[in-house]
Symmetry: C2
Subunit: 337 residues, 2 copies
């Protein structure tokens, strides 16, 4: 059994550009280079030029395969030999199961009982071995510790892990390499792995780019943590954005404090209506967690509050939005009775 070193805020160095570039080279053959899509109708609704990085079209249906593949592929044979263990509300679990399967080692996934059935089935389809726990952060950790002790598997935490953060950073790296003149990037925040990686990957390329996190009001620990300057806990959450129910770790909080401009909150109703709008207008399937990153930008008061500078050539602000995933139960759409 192996464990990651304990986090020390005073001495912590976040993943470097070199680590992110190495991660990208390592995972590139195993992931999709996802398309960046645009939508004239959403642009005209918001008075901005949107660019959507479509990680919903990523392998396993979410960005999570970037970090999971980076972590699993960077292990020695000795480290990986007893398999991989993790806790996940779903997408990270599927990503770890997929990455472990491609390496031929078992994946042990601890997930809350209220995880969507479609995400449970996806993990099973990749051969992952599931242990269910209560839907509280504390129960997830205890169960994960127990499974790890029993199996000797290597822990790949969903976000409190530099290998994961470096992997997730490759989405922003691709985004800015293909669309270099974005004014800002918006990403959803849960445990902070994607948002941390977005900061590191984007700021290394363009130090002046603005990074803004988006979070359900019903799971607002990142908002409260950045507002107070102290890591805030959140032991349970009932947002429909089932990928955003985790809380920041000291590691991700340290990165976000330094690089994230602000966190925008959205209601459950805004999440649902935005998801539906994207399905209708863009013909792509996003899960509610993805809609969280766009929803605030459809409110004129929020867009005005961002004080985006008019561009020199008079063009609209260029806003990058990361759609984090597309795993939904097609028998239970949020807008249908």
């Amino acid at each position: 059994m192996t464990t990651a070193p304990a986090f020390e805020a005073t001495t912590y160095h976040a993943p470097s550009w070199e680590a992110i570039s190495e991660a990208h080279a390592r995972i590139a053959p195993r992931i999709h280079h996802t398309p960046i899509l645009t939508s004239a109708s959403l642009d005209s609704m918001a008075g901005a030029s949107f660019f959507f990085k479509c990680e919903n079209l990523q392998k396993t249906g979410s960005f999570k395969i970037r970090g999971a593949a980076n972590a699993v592929l960077s292990l020695s044979n000795e480290q990986a030999g007893h398999g991989i263990v993790t806790q996940s509300s779903g997408n990270h679990g599927a990503a770890v199961a997929c990455a472990a399967a491609s390496r031929g080692v078992p994946a042990y996934i601890v997930m809350p009982k209220n995880a969507p059935k479609v995400k449970i089935r996806a993990i099973e389809a990749y051969g992952g071995k599931i242990t269910f726990c209560e839907a509280k952060v504390s129960s997830r950790k205890e169960t994960c510790d127990r499974v790890q002790a029993e199996t000797g598997a290597h822990l790949v935490h969903p976000y409190d892990d530099d290998r994961i953060i470096a992997g997730q950073a490759t989405a922003a790296k691709e985004f800015l390499e293909e669309t270099p003149d974005l004014d800002a990037i918006f990403a959803p925040v849960s445990g902070g792995g994607l948002l941390s990686g977005t900061c590191l990957g984007a700021k290394a390329i363009r130090g002046d780019i603005r990074i803004i996190g988006c979070e359900p009001a019903r799971a607002d620990d990142a908002y409260r943590s950045l507002a107070t300057g102290t890591l805030q806990s959140q032991d349970s959450s009932d947002t429909i954005a089932d990928g955003l129910r985790a809380s920041l770790s000291p590691r991700t909080f340290a990165i976000l404090r330094r690089h994230v401009e602000r966190i925008l909150l959205v209601t459950e109703e805004e999440i649902i209506s935005t998801a539906r709008l994207v399905w209708e207008r863009m013909k792509i399937i996003i899960e509610p967690s993805s809609a969280v990153a766009l929803a605030p930008l459809l409110k004129p008061s929020v867009v005005a509050s961002l004080t985006l500078p008019p561009r020199p050539d008079g063009r609209l602000a260029k806003l990058g939005v990361i759609f984090s995933g597309g795993n939904v139960d097609l028998n239970a759409l949020p807008w249908l009775p």
Copy 2:
């Protein structure tokens, strides 16, 4: 009022590569260069390598904007001055309305009473003026003739028009320019505009590429026409593939006879289950008409009957599939009660 010259099979020359290239240059600023997506899970189900040209992600939600924009933008001011008239089950109507709006002229759209509400709303959103008719081919034509006589508008037929066929050919042109080594391309067939264009665009680049049409068994006039060598009519159809209810014209039949290897038929159940599979696995929204082009390839007996050669390097056959559109009513999914 202007009319297209009558079609003469004996002297007909289908649109040339030059006409297709000119069309592409004309419409490129107005359309999306749509992504080509892949899916490891669909590949493993079929034992082939699929490449999906995603015209469901095209502006107006279907490939139809290619032909409509080419026709409308190639008109003189005098020709376009009284507006554009057409008949359509939906997607061509929205495309003509969009193209006419961008030119600042009215669009008169004749559509069957049973067209999906979502397609009616899309035409209205582009400012198109709708006249409803019965759901028979004969009623469509009569109503369209009447509206044309009343308005003096320029007729842009949904497929019996070389400007339309040249525009639709640009999808296959992009497809092969980006994925040059496809073994075959599969496209749905209704009136034959997309399939004719696919033949012309693809064969001009790769004379040996195989082109195969796919059609609902409940609207099998192209299958019967190619089987008998004589243009067969079909005055009504009740397939769920609402974009595939029209019949070939002498013009499209002439092109298909020359270039299409065969037509594959699919049942309504296969259309629905394939559409759902694509939504689930690829996280994109395709309408039932799109699923028609993939459905036969999920049947091992059909794939075997295609006698695709093993590739020299031992790789799987590379099959290109055109997803024609993504306009569906999200309140009435085919697989929900």
